[in-house]
């Protein structure tokens, strides 16, 4: 395994990379610089604050201290040596190392960055998963027992939802799989903004840690929306919510810019829009959503943060208590499509390959992705049916019902592709089918929620919680596992044993449905959200839901563990085990170093499996 130059703008000197003189590991250096940054800025602000009664770490100083820490961390981990100094004309001393160490330092290789994103995201999944298990433990009984106060429980709900959404849902398939795959899929050796991308990935662990440690500053009860005016009353932990999510979003924004630029400008000759792979279309749609909506929510967070620390009455009855929620969901609904569009794209990517059948009605799949993207900005207020005034209820409900049409196109394409195919049943294809099943339930229960009259009953109950876990876990997480199994040979050059893979798939499928289908029922029976205690008549069902949830938790651990094992120790894989035609499978497996020694030329669509169809790609030497 060696890293060859060429795909990295840093190798201009032509030297081959060498293992440098042992230096401090970059994350270590980052932590130390972060500590210095925090102390420095916190002290300055604390020192000049005219309020004599404040403590050393106070609301205002901690915000600046955190900024100092973030800059210290990003500089220490590689930004200073590889970005800042060269920008001022200093010679570039940074060398990319080889072997496992390169995953723990600044890199410009999109594949390394992709894996860094995936691992950081996996870390978030574990932390937020532990929080979920703690919630389910508490809910086994109808009175407080695990947590002492309800605010501790509510903080846990918030930490769970926040980390899941902003470091898993938004990140895994976009920052992770997207960064890894997209440059290869479009036949390029690097992404467009590889240096920026190398630094943005380090924002993810920092953001996760900020949110995970927020309870140290004080409990916050708003859940993942961080909503004002409640946030202004909450403990100071809410400050770390805004800051942590802010930096996670900044990371996703950079990912989006990078992916769009890569797809637009880095395509190999012959890779026309008509031939662009489905996953690339998915990434393009998602990235546009990110570019439009992330700045909107970042601005809102800044306003909310100021409302908290200054404080400003922007969102109280003097301003309007509705404004924050409207602003939040304006972003929040596109966000859920940011999570799920990659999953839909992945189905269309994998199914033709594994059924050896031409992708059916490709253009309608693309139209679906694009229209979901366009409509998703018009449906936000369905999160607020009981909150908003009467006049907007019906228009919002209308658009909400309409968005199911383009979403349905993904099913239409998938089904058309499966029909009369020779469907290879293995772990990734099984997981895709399971994902379709789960997402179908998520979507159809959405039809009930889109109806305002019915919504007035279901809103803020566990029915809603069941609905969105079906779309996110059922759709996005199951698809992510499908992608992990499918691309394992590409990542590692190794493969898995299909029996153990399918065993894991069935495990999470059964445990997932056992857990979350009951969320619908318990919600209909009157179980409302955000409560650690509830009426006694709901206790037995909650108890038994928790048991299923623990089984699901272990199921996820099993699958993650098995994938890691296969990655390191699994049997060697063929170069192109699924006989796929897309460009990433023309790059070496495992994909280390340069993707394409000679420039590929695309001469055909990637999803044509009819007998006469020629190769999709040729290499001219």
């Amino acid at each position: 395994m060696s890293v060859t130059p060429g795909n990295s703008p840093l190798q201009a000197t032509g030297e081959l990379p060498v293992v440098p003189r042992r230096r401090m590991s970059p994350p270590m250096k980052g932590v130390i610089w972060a500590a210095i940054g925090f102390l420095l800025l916190n002290s300055i602000v604390s020192g000049i604050d005219p309020d004599v009664l404040h403590s050393y770490v106070n609301q205002v100083s901690v915000v600046f201290g955190w900024m100092g820490a973030m800059v210290g961390w990003l500089f220490g981990v590689g930004g200073w040596d590889a970005l800042v100094k060269p920008a001022f004309g200093f010679p570039l001393k940074w060398k990319e190392t080889v072997g496992w160490r390169r995953y723990f330092e600044y890199s410009t290789d999109h594949k390394v960055i992709g894996i860094q994103y995936m691992v950081s995201s996996g870390l978030g999944f574990l932390i937020a998963g532990i929080a979920a298990m703690m919630m389910r433990l508490q809910l086994m009984s109808d009175h407080m027992w695990l947590f002492q106060y309800s605010k501790g429980y509510l903080t846990t709900v918030g930490v769970h939802g926040t980390i899941m959404m902003f470091s898993v849902g938004t990140v895994f398939m976009v920052g992770g799989l997207g960064n890894y795959l997209i440059p290869m899929m479009v036949g390029s050796n690097s992404s467009a903004f590889s240096r920026l991308s190398g630094i943005s990935v380090w924002m993810v662990p920092a953001g996760i840690m900020t949110v995970a440690f927020s309870p140290l500053l004080g409990d916050w009860t708003t859940g993942w929306r961080g909503y004002q005016p409640l946030a202004s009353q909450d403990g100071d932990g809410i400050i770390f919510y805004y800051l942590g999510v802010f930096i996670l979003l900044l990371s996703s924004l950079i990912v989006a810019l990078n992916l769009v630029a890569t797809i637009v400008f880095k395509r190999a000759p012959g890779l026309t829009w008509n031939r662009l792979p489905m996953y690339a279309w998915g990434m393009l749609a998602v990235s546009f959503l990110n570019i439009i909506w992330i700045p909107e929510i970042m601005m809102t967070f800044i306003l909310a943060l100021l409302a908290k620390i200054v404080p400003l009455p922007l969102f109280t009855a003097v301003g309007s208590p509705m404004v924050y929620l409207q602003m939040f969901w304006l972003f929040g609904h596109p966000e859920v499509y940011i999570v799920v569009v990659p999953a839909l794209a992945l189905w269309m990517e994998i199914l033709p390959v594994l059924s050896k059948k031409t992708l059916f009605a490709r253009q309608w799949g693309v139209i679906g992705l694009v229209f979901v993207m366009l409509l998703s900005g018009m449906v936000w207020a369905h999160h607020l049916f009981p909150t908003q005034g009467n006049s907007t209820i019906l228009p919002i409900s209308f658009f909400t019902e309409m968005i199911s049409i383009p979403t349905g196109f993904a099913f239409m394409v998938a089904i058309g592709t499966i029909w009369k195919s020779k469907f290879t049943l293995n772990t990734p294809s099984l997981l895709v089918l399971m994902s379709m099943f789960n997402f179908l339930i998520g979507g159809l229960t959405g039809v009930f929620l889109a109806d305002p009259m019915v919504n007035m009953q279901l809103h803020d109950t566990f029915f809603v919680v069941g609905h969105f876990h079906y779309t996110i876990i059922g759709g996005m997480v199951f698809s992510s596992f499908a992608a992990m199994y499918y691309y394992l040979p590409k990542f590692s050059g190794r493969t898995f044993n299909d029996k153990w893979g399918q065993f894991g798939a069935y495990w999470i499928f059964i445990a997932f449905n056992a857990t979350f289908f009951q969320f619908f029922i318990v919600g209909l029976r009157g179980m409302n959200r955000w409560v650690p205690v509830y009426p006694h008549y709901l206790m037995w069902q909650n108890f038994e839901i928790s048991i299923c949830a623990f089984l699901l938790g272990f199921g996820f651990l099993y699958n993650i563990g098995y994938i890691i094992w296969a990655w390191v120790k699994g049997p060697a894989a063929e170069e192109n085990p699924w006989k796929a035609k897309t460009l990433e499978w023309y790059a070496p497996s495992p994909a280390v170093g340069t993707n394409f020694e000679t420039e590929p030329q695309v001469v055909n669509g990637f999803y044509d499996y009819s007998d006469g169809a020629g190769e999709a790609v040729v290499f001219q030497s």
Partner: protein, 270 residues
């Protein structure tokens, strides 16, 4: 063609069976309904359930076809024999049907049910029989007053806030956040949501705004008898949110009249 007809016939048969089951199970979608409005919501939900079940059957059948009918046999390594890239009839039908179903659902039950609910509100307001209950939300509790009867804050024998309603009489809830209209006390409170699970309706209480909810209770019952008969805050509103609930009693008209007398006595006595 064989697969096509086979699939079609199985789909129709299974859909009919599933819809028959849905028509029975769907009647209990709301679990317990104790108001006119909950019954309307229940009817809308049943209708939606009957509509989506055939769609569910269609897609799930297709997944099973992938698993069994179209599964690659051992040793077969070739491409699929069928390589259709497009089928006008299938795509045309899919797009048209999904458009028609959605537009249809928007008209009924979405718009129709909301219209009925809003018209009920207008009718209640015109009726002389309407009971007005002022509901005040505050971190973390509910209080209820009955301006038509001069009851300022209804309480039970333990001094807890309690909501009493007569059966079969239209009620207008006037929902406000706590405050004396000075613009300051409202300022400190947050959003709450007024929800009685058995009534099938919830309305948020926004500081600085007045909201209304219209209900006609139809069943005599109370929190003790049925857990869904409770006033529950449904929007997270801080550490006390889980505890922000009150008991509810729906009683006969005559019991309500005597309860009013008893409340008035209690009020003047203290």
């Amino acid at each position: 063609m064989g697969d096509f007809w086979g699939f079609g016939i199985i789909w129709v048969v299974l859909s009919v069976i599933a819809d028959w089951i849905a028509s029975i199970v769907g009647r209990h979608f709301y679990v317990f309904t104790a108001s006119v409005q909950a019954q309307e919501g229940q009817a809308a939900a049943s209708f939606l359930l009957m509509t989506v079940v055939p769609i569910f059957v269609f897609v799930v059948m297709m997944l099973f076809y992938a698993l069994f009918r179209f599964r690659r046999r051992k040793g077969d390594t070739g491409s699929s024999t069928s390589q259709v890239k497009f089928n006008k009839a299938y795509v045309g039908l899919w797009v048209t049907l999904s458009l028609v179903v959605n537009l249809f659902l928007f008209v009924h039950p979405t718009a129709s049910a909301m219209q009925v609910y809003w018209q009920e509100g207008q009718a209640y307001n015109k009726s002389s029989n309407e009971l007005i209950v002022d509901v005040t939300a505050q971190q973390w509790g509910w209080s209820f007053s009955y301006p038509q009867y001069g009851i300022q804050e209804s309480v039970d024998s333990n001094g807890n806030d309690v909501l009493y309603l007569p059966v079969d009489r239209p009620v207008k809830f006037v929902l406000n956040s706590y405050g004396d209209g000075d613009g300051l006390s409202e300022q400190i409170d947050v959003i709450h949501s007024f929800w009685i699970p058995a009534f099938g309706m919830k309305t948020d209480v926004i500081p600085g705004e007045t909201r209304y909810e219209y209900i006609t209770p139809t069943v005599i019952s109370d929190t003790q008898q049925n857990g869904m008969m409770r006033v529950q805050c449904a929007e997270v509103c801080g550490p006390g949110h889980p505890y922000m609930e009150s008991n509810l009693h729906v009683v006969s008209q005559s019991n309500f009249a005597s309860w009013v007398q008893q409340q008035l006595k209690l009020q003047s006595g203290s």
